[in-house]
Subunit: 345 residues, 2 copies
Amino acid sequence: MAKKKKTGSNVTLKEVAKALDVSTMTVSRAINNRSNVKTQTRKRILKKASELGYTPNHVAKSLVSSKTYTLGVIIPKISHAFFPEVVRGIEEITFQKNYQILLVNTTEDFDREKKAIETLRSKRVDGILVSSSLVTDDYSFYKQVIRTGPPLVFFDRCIEDIGASCISVNDTTAAKQITKHLISHGYSKIAHLSGPPRVTIGKKRLEGYLKAMKTAKHPVRDEWIVESGFHEGGGYEAMKKLLMLPGEIRPRAVVSINDPVAFGAIDAIWEQGLSIPHDVAIVGFTNDIRAGMISCPLTTVHQPAYEVGKKAVNKLINTIESDDEPLENIEIITSLKIRSSCGCM
Amino acid sequence: MAKKKKTGSNVTLKEVAKALDVSTMTVSRAINNRSNVKTQTRKRILKKASELGYTPNHVAKSLVSSKTYTLGVIIPKISHAFFPEVVRGIEEITFQKNYQILLVNTTEDFDREKKAIETLRSKRVDGILVSSSLVTDDYSFYKQVIRTGPPLVFFDRCIEDIGASCISVNDTTAAKQITKHLISHGYSKIAHLSGPPRVTIGKKRLEGYLKAMKTAKHPVRDEWIVESGFHEGGGYEAMKKLLMLPGEIRPRAVVSINDPVAFGAIDAIWEQGLSIPHDVAIVGFTNDIRAGMISCPLTTVHQPAYEVGKKAVNKLINTIESDDEPLENIEIITSLKIRSSCGCM
DNA sequence: TTGTACGCGTTATCAA
DNA sequence: TTGATAACGCGTACAA
């Protein structure tokens, strides 16, 4: 346990009151701009308060009002470029509306996520935004939280239809579109580096890929769907597996669950001395800051992360401040970013 | 003003106590694992508490203890890749030590920074980490905060010697080294895209550049030092100015204040149809995630952002939890990352 | 081992 | 227009 130490003891209403020989209530009223204070006294009070260096104690305020003006924000991996952009969007709105955010980075660890939610509840945040790291389909924890906890809104990695709103992008459609884009340029042996199968975005992007293949009547081999997780390392390993397939069934193009995975895969491809898109074409999903800068610029799906953040936090704040804010699954529309990694330019 | 709404009214100690017909103190003791509770009663209490869904109210706890286990973290620009890494480092430690962080993104706006500090004080955070956006040399605000507020530690963009610790990297030395690296490969007409002159890191990196030039006895022209700020746009504009210089005084190499500025500058160079490093060599500072990936990989200074975050928050927590933690300016050692943009490989 | 009284800093409420 | 009192949920200090 940590040692305790009093921080430079702060001035209270009572002290200001005593210094002026008025009641604390009068000081409170003056400082909070209530109407029922004589202009004269208000002036005296404000002057003295600033002299003494009074700062309102929000902890005490929150205890009385049950309102902390604080939101919890839970993200799986802050080093994935998508998330800082989401946070920027969230911040932009919370700044306007005078909320603050408690940020938690769970490093893709669901236990840490659970612990964080408990802590946020104890801190009595007014609401919680979550991009979940849950990879099983046991939703009991969140069902419980949603029933008994503060308002909660999912974003990006959602758990749908258990009583919370969800802000995501049109994953299925976008994955279908980008796969179709490859198909329309002549590819048929197309593989998919997929996320964890139980996670919404993993499921949806896989579904989009499959739909596009089906529509084109291109058969899909089981070996072409390789689980890669969400990060560079997983992409690298998964791609190596694909490259070990014998020539006749080796894919000529790859649809990656996201850009980091694509970057890992690209490393694996280059390591084998192969070239992109000549030997293998590849596309991503995110439009990571790096996507346009690599020597073979990556074709990808642009995910408007900043917008996702703004929409999610707006939804949350509306839910907090109004009784009848409806539950919604909002899909933000993405756009294709065609570059050269798909060999389509 | 926001409407008020009670969140799913939380269970209190008192309610648990009433349900069991014991005093709230006994419940408090049981839940906080104090020794002086009969094992029997403790069991009953814990059981009932979990049945009722009791969650400790940290707001009330904080009011009593004057301890929030919350730290404020103020950063200028979350979309600059350096900062998410710092935040990751901070998070890693706060997770271990059971603190939470209130994150504020000031978007390089000092007024927003000031407002944030006031809010954090009102929320009674136990301490504050700041990378400041202050670009003048009027330090009165921070002098006041350091005198009257909670413990404060600067990182990266520090204000030194006004009574707070500072965690940064060896900016001067690193800038000198990377400039020297260019010099040792035959460059003498070397320009500098500089940050705001009043900001520590701007000053120090400029100083390092100048030192290296002086040691090599290479004259430095005024036109070669162009203020660029910290971001892509500024780098682009500043580089255009350099490229407009007449042939004989146009620089052959550029030392950039950081990587984002270098990327902006690179765009400007390419736009003129020039090649890197053949026509102009360029080096950065940060080792941004993009640095190694662009088609002409960027030579730069690797700044261990994750370490900066860890060191800074450790310093802060030590200051909070102990009376005699000394003030320190800690410089974390960087390393040169030689790639091809300097034409030295 | 358990309980009572009080205070942390603030505001709502009612009285003056 | 101002003041006194109680309450928010918890823990310290003391008493039983």
